[in-house]
């Protein structure tokens, strides 16, 4: 069949073939297009770190462009939730325990052999961190840093209150808070003795409650044969909750409307609070003259591993993304991370001693008692929902005047635990008694 309008008489179907060949020839003569890697994370303070890693990789690949897009953690989680199922996520993403959901759904490819070898090397990471990137015996990511808590306390305020060191037991925290609280003429607190997380969004309130609960020997959730159940409607739960109520409602060492957390500590509006190591870097930037120290918690700490994953389908770009991830884990970069940002790197075969010696506040995070215990958030799909719902109840409960007696607190905790178990049951994750 020939094209009616053709004057050459050649078969028309050869025209497109010729055109495509010519286009391909000219395209091959064009300079190679720059490769772009996009990095997504939920800790904006990490931006200089990721940019630094990108710059290092650019020395090797001059055409490489690295775009670092960091937003607030909860927004980052939403972004992942939207982008991963639709295949529109970045090339490298930070994830905590919520990664399990995506791994279950097959939305993140497994790591290549060289990365697996790096992660599985016992010299690099403890088993806990290796497990945090493992799903069904496959490695999917690379551990980077962790959220671990300690007590921060203002040494000047401690000295003024006649306190020489950090509280040894969780029970000690309340009398310490009482002594440290500064009040106006009407007795209203102007500087909180202990900044407790009393409000705020999402799961933070419940995480902070869990940390305190852990000091009393309790846990929010307990595992049994791969299933879970609420474990806070008991004496430990009552003690932890009652401590909040006592401080907020009875002793008034803190109130919901007062400035809280790192901001309050940096502005000297609270005497002590429990937080992760990033605060050290934050204080250095925002309040360099603040006199403070850190101390391990009475029993142990939460550990939330933050890992890097590559959702990009295996290929040239994914290889480049994995190279970026490994570059981030270079000793020099991890030292820089600890020194300049304050997050604790998870790789253990790196010498951090000079940084720790220079900044004694890191001591509480790395030099803890031998019987110090750790816990982490469960890597189960409804973890975030459970924590959010518990948090909502806690926010109401801390300021509820009806919740001062043991009986009322017990009933409150029982109801909250029942809600948690209902969620676990719905997801097929409830442990049988």
């Amino acid at each position: 069949m020939t094209f009616a309008g053709s004057t050459s008489g050649k078969p028309a179907r050869k025209r497109p073939i010729l055109a495509i060949t010519a286009a391909a020839f000219f395209a091959s003569m064009l300079p190679a297009q720059a490769e772009k890697l996009t990095i997504w994370g939920g800790w904006p303070e990490m931006e200089p770190f990721y940019k630094r890693v990108g710059e290092q990789l650019k020395k090797k690949y001059p055409d490489l462009e690295v775009s670092v897009e960091l937003i607030a953690l909860r927004e980052h989680e939403k972004r992942n939730a939207l982008a991963l199922p639709s295949g529109a996520a970045a090339d490298v993403i930070e994830m905590e325990v919520e990664a399990t959901r995506y791994l279950e759904g097959g939305l993140v490819p497994a790591a290549p052999d060289n990365v697996v070898k790096f992660v599985k090397d016992g010299k690099h990471f403890d088993k806990f961190f290796q497990d945090s990137v493992t799903f069904e015996d496959k490695i999917y990511g690379v551990p980077l840093f962790r959220g671990q808590t300690a007590l921060y306390y203002n040494t000047d305020m401690y000295a003024k209150a006649g306190l020489s060191g950090a509280p040894k037991t969780m029970e000690d925290y309340t009398p310490y808070a009482e002594k440290l609280t500064q009040r106006d003429a009407q007795g209203k607190p102007t500087v909180s003795g202990w900044s407790l997380r009393l409000s705020g969004g999402g799961q933070g309130v419940a995480e902070k409650f869990w940390i305190n609960l852990f000091q009393f020997g309790g846990n929010l959730l307990e595992e049994k044969d791969g299933k879970w159940k609420a474990a806070f409607a008991n004496e430990a739960g009552r003690k932890a909750f009652k401590q909040y109520v006592e401080n907020v409602q009875v002793l008034k060492t803190v109130s919901p409307e007062m400035k809280a957390d790192a901001e309050a500590f940096e502005l000297e509006q609270t005497a002590m609070f429990i937080r992760e190591s990033w605060v050290i870097g934050d204080i250095a930037k925002k309040s360099p003259n603040l006199k403070y120290a850190t101390a391990p918690l009475p029993r142990g700490s939460i550990v939330i591993p933050v890992n890097l994953y590559v959702p990009t389908k295996p290929g040239k770009k994914a290889d480049l993304a994995w190279e970026y991830v490994l570059q981030a884990n270079e000793p020099e970069n991890l030292q820089w991370l600890l020194d300049n940002i304050g997050w604790l790197p998870n790789r253990k075969d790196v010498d951090y001693s000079a940084i720790i010696a220079k900044t004694p506040a890191f001591g509480a995070f790395v030099n803890f008692p031998s019987d110090y215990k750790f816990f982490s958030l469960p890597a189960i799909a409804p973890a975030s929902e459970i924590l959010t719902r518990v948090a909502a109840r806690l926010v109401d409960g801390y300021t509820n005047p009806k919740l001062q007696s043991d009986a009322a607190i017990d009933a409150f905790l029982k109801e909250a635990a029942a809600e948690v178990d209902t969620i676990l049951k719905r997801e097929g994750l409830l442990a049988t008694p």
């Binding site: 939403k78 939730a81 939207l82 991963l84 809280a260 959010t388």
Partner: protein
């Protein structure tokens, strides 16, 4: 003759359909299909990530009515919506009347502009400014209270006060639009009605009650419906205003859209969030229908 008229009628109808087609297609794509899809999703256990998305009928709706967070969000949203309506419509009407009847005033334009500005100001900076006003420690509102010897209030941390703050902010933003629409309504009322009433000795208040309000009924209906729909859909104002140093809204002023957002993109329960959206749609439709009934004039559709 009748045939010719019929042909014209058919041609006109065809033209109207063709003219409306692009808008109809767009509206179907961006409105009808998403609504139908939301209705469909609400009947499934539709997890954003899980590959299993079983049909569960009305289970999502059953669960919603035992869900304390949803019920709290529904209660807060309803209080806020009716609070905003109760402030915006009467105040907007009064302000529009004052501006309209003072058109010869040199400051009429200034009043119109200053009332309308909040409506065009971006939501987030406006909410940030109000957040500062309500700040318990540094806010000018508590400073003002102190000036009158009154104790400072924890505006954004007390359950009742926090909701009042949200109502004030939303009303402040909605007022400009309401005034603008009412002004248009006032301008469409024939002056002869007022002149005749004045000749009969009617006072300004009587004119307002017996002429302005009946004549403005369609406008009142429109403003009420729009205000209520907007108030039921609030999110950004609450998110900014009720956020603490952790940058996220607490439970005190939890609203429906926030609850939906959390269920869909934090808990990945899209089917459950869709059921919430269906309930929100049903509430808004029901309220709109009630408003139509209330404002409908006798003998008019």
């Amino acid at each position: 003759m009748r045939e010719l008229a019929g042909t014209w009628h058919r041609k006109g109808f065809t033209f109207a359909i063709l003219a409306l087609l692009p808008a109809l297609i767009i509206y179907t794509l961006v409105r009808f299909i998403p609504i139908i899809e939301t209705l469909r999703l609400s009947l499934f256990q539709w997890n954003l990530i899980s590959r299993r998305k079983p049909f569960i009928g009305l289970d999502n709706f059953r669960e919603l009515f035992t869900d304390s967070l949803f019920l709290e969000a529904l209660r807060n949203t309803t209080i806020i919506a009716f609070g905003v309506l109760a402030i915006t419509v009467p105040l907007g009407l009064v302000l529009a009347a004052l501006i309209h009847h003072r058109t010869r005033s040199r400051f009429a334009g200034f009043y119109e502009t200053s009332i309308f500005i909040p409506h065009v100001v971006s939501l987030v900076p406006a909410a940030m400014a109000w957040k500062w006003i309500f700040d318990a420690r540094l806010g000018p509102l508590n400073t003002l209270l102190g000036f009158f010897g009154l104790p400072p209030q924890a505006w954004l941390f007390d359950p009742v006060l926090a909701i009042i703050c949200v109502i004030v902010l939303c009303s402040w933003q909605a007022l400009g639009y309401a005034v603008l629409i009412f002004l248009v309504g006032f301008k469409n009322i024939p002056q002869s009605l007022y002149e005749a009433a004045r000749l009969d000795g009617a006072s300004a208040l009587q004119c307002f009650r017996h002429i302005s309000i009946p004549q403005l009924k369609p406008v009142l209906l429109y403003v009420s419906v729009i205000t209520l729909i907007a108030a039921f859909n609030i999110y950004a104002q609450v998110f900014v205003l009720a956020s603490d140093s952790q940058g996220a809204p607490g439970r005190l002023v939890r609203v429906l859209v926030l609850d939906m957002l959390e269920n869909s993109f934090r808990n990945y329960r899209v089917g459950y969030a869709a059921a919430e959206a269906v309930i929100l749609l049903a509430i808004v439709l029901a309220l709109t229908a009630i408003q139509f009934r209330v404002f409908r004039e006798k003998g008019r559709p």
